[in-house]
Structures are given as C-alpha cells and as structure tokens.
Symmetry: C2
Subunit: 310 residues, 2 copies
Amino acid sequence: MITNIDVTLRDGGYRNGFNFSLDYAFEHARQSVDASFDWVEIAYLKGSFDPTKSTGLTGRGDPDYVRALARHVGPDHIGLIGHPSNLTCGDLAAAYSAGARLIRLCLTASASQSDLALLTAAKDMGYTVCANLTRVSRLTPRQIAELAFRASEAGADVVYLADSNGSLRPSDVGSLVNLVDKITPSAVGLHAHNNLGLALANSLAAVDNGATWIDSSILGMGKGAGNLIAEQWMAYLDRDFAIKCRSVDLGVVLELSDFLAASVAESRPALPMTDLLMGHFDLSIEQREHFRGSHRDSVAAARDLQGVVS
Amino acid sequence: MITNIDVTLRDGGYRNGFNFSLDYAFEHARQSVDASFDWVEIAYLKGSFDPTKSTGLTGRGDPDYVRALARHVGPDHIGLIGHPSNLTCGDLAAAYSAGARLIRLCLTASASQSDLALLTAAKDMGYTVCANLTRVSRLTPRQIAELAFRASEAGADVVYLADSNGSLRPSDVGSLVNLVDKITPSAVGLHAHNNLGLALANSLAAVDNGATWIDSSILGMGKGAGNLIAEQWMAYLDRDFAIKCRSVDLGVVLELSDFLAASVAESRPALPMTDLLMGHFDLSIEQREHFRGSHRDSVAAARDLQGVVS
C-alpha cells in the first residue's frame, strides 16, 4: 500500500521563497487531500538547512499556521519536515499540539546521537516519524545502511532515501531501496528530484523494490529541476492496479494542478539544462556557481569537480 | 549499439506548422550530427497523414531542401519519413537522388500490399528502411506481430513501434519490443511520446528488451506532449556504459537545446494536462475535441469514449 506525500508547499517553496499565501495553502491542502494524498507536507519546521533563506510562511511552520491547516483538513493529513540542527523537543511538541501528526527529520552521514534522540522524542510524542537520508547519491551503501539502521533503531517508521542531487538512475534506486528494506523493519520511501527526467522511472523502481512511501509535488514544483511530478505519478497509480494506494481522483489532481499554475507563477514547468548537468555529474545545488559560460565549459568544469578523466 | 534519430525538425513541426527556416534547419542538422545523432529526420516527405496541414518546409521534404541538407551534413545522416498514401516510387527515387539515405514508412494495421511494395522499392533503391507501426497501443499483440512480420519480409531493416498516443507503460513496451524482436530478423526501434512522463522510462525498457533504434527530439519538441527529451536521453547514454552508442557530446547536445529554445518559440517545454489525460485513456489527438470543460468532465468523457466502467 503506497503512502503519498504532497511536498509542493514545502519543496516548491524553494522556487518562491516559501511565500505561499495562507489562502493558497488552505485551498491547496484541501484539494490535495481530496485528490488522495495521504499527507500534505505544509512546511519546513523552523527553516530549511539555511533558515535565513526560508522565512516565508511554508519555510517556518509556525504553530498558528499548523493549527489553521490541521483544523481545515484534519491532523492526520498534516506533515512537517525539519533539520535537527534547527529544532528542539519543544518545537516538536508545539507543532504536535498545533495538530501536525507526521514529522520528517533530515539526517546526513554525520548524524549525531542528539539528532537521533530528537527522532525518538518525536516518536514518543505520537508522531509518525520519517528519517530522511539526504543526498544519498553522495553516500556509500555502507553509510546508507548504517544510517538507516540507526534511524530505525531510534524509532523511525519510515526511512526515506532523498535523491537531493537528482542524480540516481533506476538501477541505483532499486539497489538502495532493496538494501534499506532488507536491513530495517522500517518502511522505505523515496524523495526524487527530476534533474535527469528520471523521477518517475526512479519512483517506479523504488516501488518495484519494496518502497511504500513516495513524495511528489504538483507540476513537480521543487528545488532546482523539481520533484516527481504528482500528476504523472497519480496517473500511473490510477492505471496500475498492481500498485495499491488510496483510490486516486485524477480529475481532482489535475484541477489542483491548474489551480497551482494559475496561482503561483514560479510553478511554471521548465527543463533547466544546468540542473540536468548537475544531476548528471552528481553535484549539489551549492556547486551551481561553477556552472557559467557555455555548456561545453560547464561539462569541463563538472568533470574537474567530479575528478573524472573524460 | 544504439542508433539515434533526431526527430525535432519533423515531429517538432506539429508545434510550428512545420515552418522551420532553412537557416535553422541547416544549423540544427549540423549540431545534431556533431552531438552524436546518427540520423537527422529532416522532414515528412510529401506531407504528414493530412498533407494539407503540413505545408511548411519540414512538412514537405522537397528535393532542393533534401539536397541542401545532404550537402551540408552528408547523405548518411539524412532521414525522411512518410505515409505510403502520399508517396510514389518516383518521390522516393527523387529524395534518394537528392541525398536522403534513410526512409521511414508509416504503417497501420490496414497496411496494403502496395504499401509494403513501396517499402521493398525503397530498400531496392539503397535506402536504409524503417517500418513505423503507428499507434501501437491500439493494436493487439497479434496485429503488431503480423504487421512486423510482413514489414520485415518486405525488407524493413528496422521495425519501429510508435507510441503515437503516448499511452504505453514500461512493462507494455518491454513486452512488445520483445515480441517483435523474437519474430523478425529486423532491428527494433521505439518512437515514444511523453504524455505520461514515461518516454524516458519506456525507452530504457525498450533497450533493456532488445530495441536498438531510439527516436528523440530536442526539448522533447513534438506532437502533443512531445517526444522523448533528447537532452535527458543523451545524458543517460553518456553515463550508462552498458548501452553502446556513438560517443555522446553532452555539451553540444545542450548547446543545440539552447539554440532551439532561442530560435523557435513553440519549442518551450510544457506539461499539457489534457495530453496527459489522453495518454492515460489511450486516446488519439483527433479525439481531443471531446476534452472541454473541467478536468473532472474530461475524465468522465474519456471513460465514456474508452468504454471503461469507472
């Protein structure tokens, strides 16, 4: 049974400074639940990795905002994500009290014991807890296995592989999902980015290999090249009876898509070629500054950064 | 070894009335060959299925145009496609004489003996010949097998499966490619459309199952939701050493992409949701008129057209 998270309001926030209006977020969350998403990830709690760059409504996740949306669509659809470095147990408790019921904590290879303790605390509060292993394309399978194991031991209901660089191919995803699925009792999820146009193929490979939680966003609105395009994913689910999920209402999905397109200019679909190159060479968005001049120059720069002899 | 056809000038023509300028076609073909495409499909010969709607430069494939491009990039990169109903042996001979060396003939389930005789004649003239089985999602496996067998017997070097409705999933493509590969000595090709965001996943499934000819277009510029996006396909080929092809120059591919984007407004990438629905319900572009009003109404209309009880 697939659990679907709509990450538009959060990951899409990278495109518009997290400045969705409250009215927009209200209507989006309503339609998202109607369209059959299990969870709506409504914000970063207390900011993204760099909290100074995520001061808009969906970059903060203030309790008033959480409360308003939880009253509107019900707590059991309200999710938040956060970086342990920005969070205290008090923040998690306040968000739970305001009505959030899903929390996702981003973990890197250098995750500390206190990061994992936060995860355990969230679990004890009553949250459904995801451990989101970020930038997995830059980790070794051994690092991923260790981190997944620690997160699972700490209480994570779901271990998410986040392809932050948009660099994985279906065969990579299949292997990694399989690995995590074998060594932990937690469910496995995939958060795909579409730099290489592989977000859908990768999500299918993930599900084929045992993943049961999938992130997507309307129009693919998300950081860089964007996320798995929810409209395409939901259309696939609606047709493939081998993959079990809540019954999809594709008409509602597409109306939400029109609503986003009409409401938020930054949601316009694009095919950014610099992001394709960055995914191709498994580079992070912070390395984008090296990509200037012609694409041929960028390819040369990327090979240098990657240390690959062409 | 993969053979790549760049179909931008032809399938992309559906977006701009086939009105690419001669200057644009010249430069595009040059860069396409430099980028590592084996063949540039420069036009419909004597028009598309409805020749009255394809009167622009790349909708006709006049001998002067073919000659100019063949002199510019060499005959061994010059391809044309056509519908047998629009063509005579004389047309094929004139195009060959002007420098075309690849001809693709579109075949439907009702292909006549004279259609196949035209294919044989093309082969005898010296062309590399592809039989393009159109709208394969609407054919039974038996119809596809029979048509592939007849085309192969008639001399087709390649039997192409054209997913004209953009409706196939990777598992469908894998089965059909496998089927055709088993029953004919011809090579097998895939022409994908991206209505469901599956063009890349489908092309990978095709290659995994034995296909060796793949169509793509720059920015995916093509009919409806467009084709396999060449930039993504070439990036994949550049990284996956298990798939053999001419060495890809990704920098040149991306410069061609910028050149198209800057030269042809109609090449702008889009995510057309009506086309997604049409692919989802396996409907042809001619049935688009039924899709008016809200997406919910369209879903209902599509289910009626499809005869599916929801």
